[in-house]
Symmetry: C2
Subunit: 197 residues, 2 copies
DNA sequence: CCTACCGATCGGTAGG
DNA sequence: CCTACCGATCGGTAGG
């Protein structure tokens, strides 16, 4: 069994695994090095600092979420269709990118300024965009829910938490979970079963 | 402004605040001491170790959740009523005990064995008890949901995440949020609006 | 990629 | 409740 080449990407991947399992502050660089079968100083040929590893992980993930969201929603005008696809893609991402989701949720607050604020603003952007879909749907009389903000939080966090329990070895695929969660989301905003294209 | 007396409870409360804000591994005992305006060694008159602070916080919180659950559910037989009250009390607790919820969710995994396993088993006990209510409801034909496990996860995590965004200064009280979330939960299991006693 | 090493900080103890 | 201090470990650098 030959050892894999040490690159910026393999270091990031090992960091991602360890940060997800133990948290940023709970992970020592020596553990990441050990996982790659090298000594700690060797990591510095492929990264700038421990903080930079976290920053790269959070940046990629947050931008990935926003890209997914726009790919799912842009070009659609029907609030029901927009919500459907936004939730489908968001839930799916959290089942298929569990480590990234866990790290972003747990450790974005550990970023140094100004990165912390920048990343939190980007996350809020997605949050507001999802809420706007619900608000639109209510205004157009397509959705029925008392508090769009509350419904938005519930739907978001329901999807996010998929990262905490989903397993590739479980009875359901990521696609199946995403579809079921999309139905949950639609019932929360007061829409019954919905067969989409 | 006279400084409050240093006791086991004031130390625990300061630890709770800091752990919730920065995480267990991200918090130094010196920060807890500074918040109480004493030096680090003084803390040891009121605690055994940093780990013991975390253990006490997690133990109390997890047992509190289970106590709440049994007080809400025991003696009721109707699945719809049982789910209604279980969710109401669970959501309410996460809005009113935000720090505790954040620490348990983030840092239970940082407990040393055997405590880590013990606490995770207790959390699982609550998870399974909630799921059993849904399974019962489905079996009795009162609920309509494809996967009771999935519905249970969605409802649980929706409630848990309240701790991440709820604010006492917001437009909704903890009671209002809990009631709305209970409605969300009931729609997820396929029950319409439900006026309970 | 390594060995050798740095200053800083950590949780915790001694002793009063 | 404090000062003084401990060994261990941390992220990171020098230099090859």
């Amino acid at each position: 069994m030959t050892r894999q080449a040490l690159t910026a990407e393999t270091v990031l991947d090992a960091a991602l695994t360890r940060f997800a399992a133990r948290g940023y502050h709970g992970t020592a660089l020596s553990e990441i090095a050990a996982a790659l079968d090298v000594r700690t100083p060797s990591l510095y040929n492929h990264m700038r600092s421990k903080h930079d590893l976290l920053l790269t992980i959070v940046e990629r993930t947050v931008h990935g979420v926003l890209d997914d969201f726009h790919a799912a929603v842009d070009g659609r005008t029907d609030p029901l269709e927009r919500l459907h696809h936004a939730v489908l893609v968001y839930a799916h991402r959290h089942a298929t990118h569990r480590r990234e989701a866990l790290v972003v949720n747990r450790d974005t607050s550990s970023l140094e300024e100004p990165h912390r604020t920048t990343m939190q603003d980007l996350r809020r952007e997605h949050e507001h965009a999802l809420r706007a879909i619900i608000t639109d749907g209510v205004r157009q009389g397509r959705f029925d829910v008392g508090s769009p903000a509350l419904a938005s939080f519930a739907i978001r966090e329901m999807c996010v938490s998929t990262a905490r329990w989903f397993s590739d070895d479980g009875p359901l695929t990521a696609e199946q979970v995403a579809r079921e969660y999309t139905e949950f989301a639609l019932t929360i905003v007061g829409v019954g079963r919905y067969a989409s294209s």
